[in-house]
Amino acid sequence: MATDVKLPRLGQGMESGTIVKWLKSEGDNVEKGEPLFEVDTDKATQEVEAEASGVLIRIAVSSGEVPVGETVAFIGEAGEEVAAISKRPEMASESVEEPQSDQTPFRAAINGARDRIKASPLARRLARERGVDLASVTGTGPEGRIVAEDVERAAAGAPAPAAAQAPAPPAEVEEVPLTKVRRTIARRLTQAWTVPVFQLTVSVDMTRANALLERSRELQPDVRVTVTDLLARVCAAGLRRHPDVNVQFTEEALLRFPTADIGIAVAAPQGLVVPVLRSVERMSLAEIATRRAEVVDRARSGALQITDLEGGTFTISNLGMFGVEQFVAVLNPPQAAILAVGATTDQPVAVDGELVVRPLMTVTLTVDHRAVDGAPAADFLRTVKTYLEEPALAL
C-alpha cells in the first residue's frame, strides 16, 4: 500500500507552503528520514524528510503553493498503481440567503425610529402604557426632552404648563427648541419646494356667496357656516367636475382620486396642521361646517389623531382673516394643488360698463405641473369662480 506524502505543518499558524525543489525523482529509492523536498514557508526554506521508506512512485505536486495536509507525492513499491489525485473537492459554496434588505422587521423599526421624538425611556414606556401620543406632548426636560412627568400630565388631561423660561436678557438671542411639528413642517415643505409649480390667480365677486352665508346663518344659527366651508364645497364640486386636478404625481403613475378629501390649513399653537374633511362632495354646507369646526377645534387643542391628518387630495389655505389680500400657498405634498384665499374687500369693479363697488376675494391656485397642465388647472379655477359667484350651480 502506498503512503501519501503530505505537506507537513512545520510551525504553529502555518497554513500553506511553497514547494521549491524536489531532492528525489520519481522512481528513486527513499529511506525514512532522508530529505525529500524543500519547502518555502514565511520563515525559511526547510527540508522535509521522508516519513517512510520505499520508492518515490509519483510526485503529484512538483512545485508551487500547497495547503498544509495536501498530498504531494506517493511512496510505495516499484510499479504500484496510485489513484489519480482527485482535486480537493470544491467547498460547495453555500448560497447565503441575503436577507431582504427592505423587508426585515429590523429595517421597519429602524426606519420608523428616524422621526424620533426626544423622550426618556421611562416617558416612552408610560406613553405606551397610557395610550398617550408623544407627538402631542410638550417636553420640559433638558433640550425639550419629554420626561415622565410630562406624559403623566398629558394623560391626566391637564394643559401643558408654559415652560418656565428665564426671561432672556435683552441682548441675548433666545433659542427655541424645535418641536416635532416644526420639524415635520420644515421637512415636508422643503420637499414641496422642489416640485415644479405654476400659480393661477382669479378675483371672485362674493356678492352672492356672502348673501348665501348670511341667509344660512339666519336659518341655522347654531351652525356657523363660513367662507371656508363654502370654498370647501365649491372646490369639491369643482374637483368632481375636473377630475384631472384631483390627482397626485408619482414616479410610477398618476394617481386619480374618486373623492374630494379636502384639507383645511389651520394655525394651531404648535404650528400649521392640515386636518382633512373626507368626501366633501357628498356633504351639505351644514355638515361641512360642523365637521370643520370639530376638526379645527381638535387641531387647536393639540388633540388631532393621525387619521385626521392622513390622505387629502386638495388643500384650502385661508389667510383672509388676517387681512391678507393675496398670497401664494406652498403645495401640501403629495397633493397636486392648493388654493390660497385672501380677504374679501370692497373694490371698485366695472359691471356692464359701469363702475360699481363689489366684495372681491382673490384666490390663487398653486399647481404641480408634473401632474396637471395649465389649461385644465385654469378650467378648474374658472369653475370655482363660477360656483362662488353663482352658488346655486354648485349645490
Binding site: 421611562l122 414606556r125 433638558p142 425639550g144 420626561v147 423660561q165
Partner: protein
Amino acid sequence: MAEVSYREAVRDALAEAMRADDDVLVMGEDIAEMGGSMGVTQGLVEEFGPERIRNTPISEMAIVGAGIGAAMQGMRPVVEIMYEDFLTISLEQIVNQAAKHRYMSGGQLKVPLTIRTQGGAGWSPGAQHAQQLEAWLVHVPGLKVVFPSSPADARGLLWSSIYDDNPVIFFEHRLLYPVKGEVGEKLEPVPIGKARVVREGKDVTVIATGPLVHRALKAADEAEKDGISVEVVDPRTLQPLDEEALVESVKKTNRAVVAHEAVTRMGFGAEVAAVLQEKAFDWLDAPVERVGAKFAPLAFAPAMEQFVVPQPADVLAAIKKTVART
C-alpha cells in the same frame, strides 16, 4: 456597639482571623515593628510574632507570588501592597498567575489569597502614589474586588475576603482610615457580592464607592434642601457586582448617578452605567450621570489636585442634572 476607625476595623479583622486560624499570615513592606506605612498593622507583631507578621523586601512580584504559592498549599496569606500604584509591579503575578491557576488546572487548584492595598488622593501624594486602579482588576476573570467605605464594612468584608477561596483584591483608601463608625461587639462577616443602601431616597440613586460614598451623602443633604430626595447605594464589592440591588434602586427612583474617585473615563462607573441602561432602560427618566476624576494624572499642587478629584459639589451637580428641566 462600639465606635472604631476604619484603620482599627481592618486591624481587628486581621487579628481575629489570625487568632482563629494558624494558617493566616500577613506579609508586606514595613508591616512589623513600624506597623505599616498607614499604621494598619500596628501592634500585631507583638501578638503574633515576626513569622506571621512578616516584613518583606521591596519585591512586589515575589511577595504576591509567595502569597500565591502559600495559598496554593492551603494557607490564607494576606499580602499588603503599600500603595495601590505598586500593584502595577505585581500585576503579572496577580493577573497571569493568581487569577488563572484554578482555571488552567481545570479546577484542581484554589488560590485563597487576599491582597490589601490603599490608594487615592489626599495630602498631595503626587501622581505615582495616588491612583485608583480598581477598573484594571475588575476586568480580570478569576479575581474578586472589594472596596468598603465604612469601618463595619471593612471589618466584615476583610474577614470574608480572607475566607474566600479566590484571590481577592481588598482596596482601602487613605482618607478613610481615620473615619469612625459603629461596629458590633462581635465581628459580623459581610458577604462578598452584596451592596448596601446607605441612605434611602425617592428621586435619584447615587451609586458610590470608597470616599465618594461620604461625599455623596454630603451632596444628598444639600440636594434635600432643594427638595430632591437622594438614595445612596454602596456596592461594597466591585466584582462580583450586586447588579440586582443597583437595578432595584434605579427602578424605584428612575435616575442614577455613579460616583467614584477613580478617573471617570473607561472606569468602573462606565460598567455600572452600562448595566443600568441594559437592565433598567425603560425605567430611566434621564441619562445615567458619572462622577469621577478628570482625565489627568494627579498633580502635586493642591489647587490642581482639588480640581481633578471629584468633590461633593460634583456629585450634587450630577444629581441636579438628572432632575433638570428647561
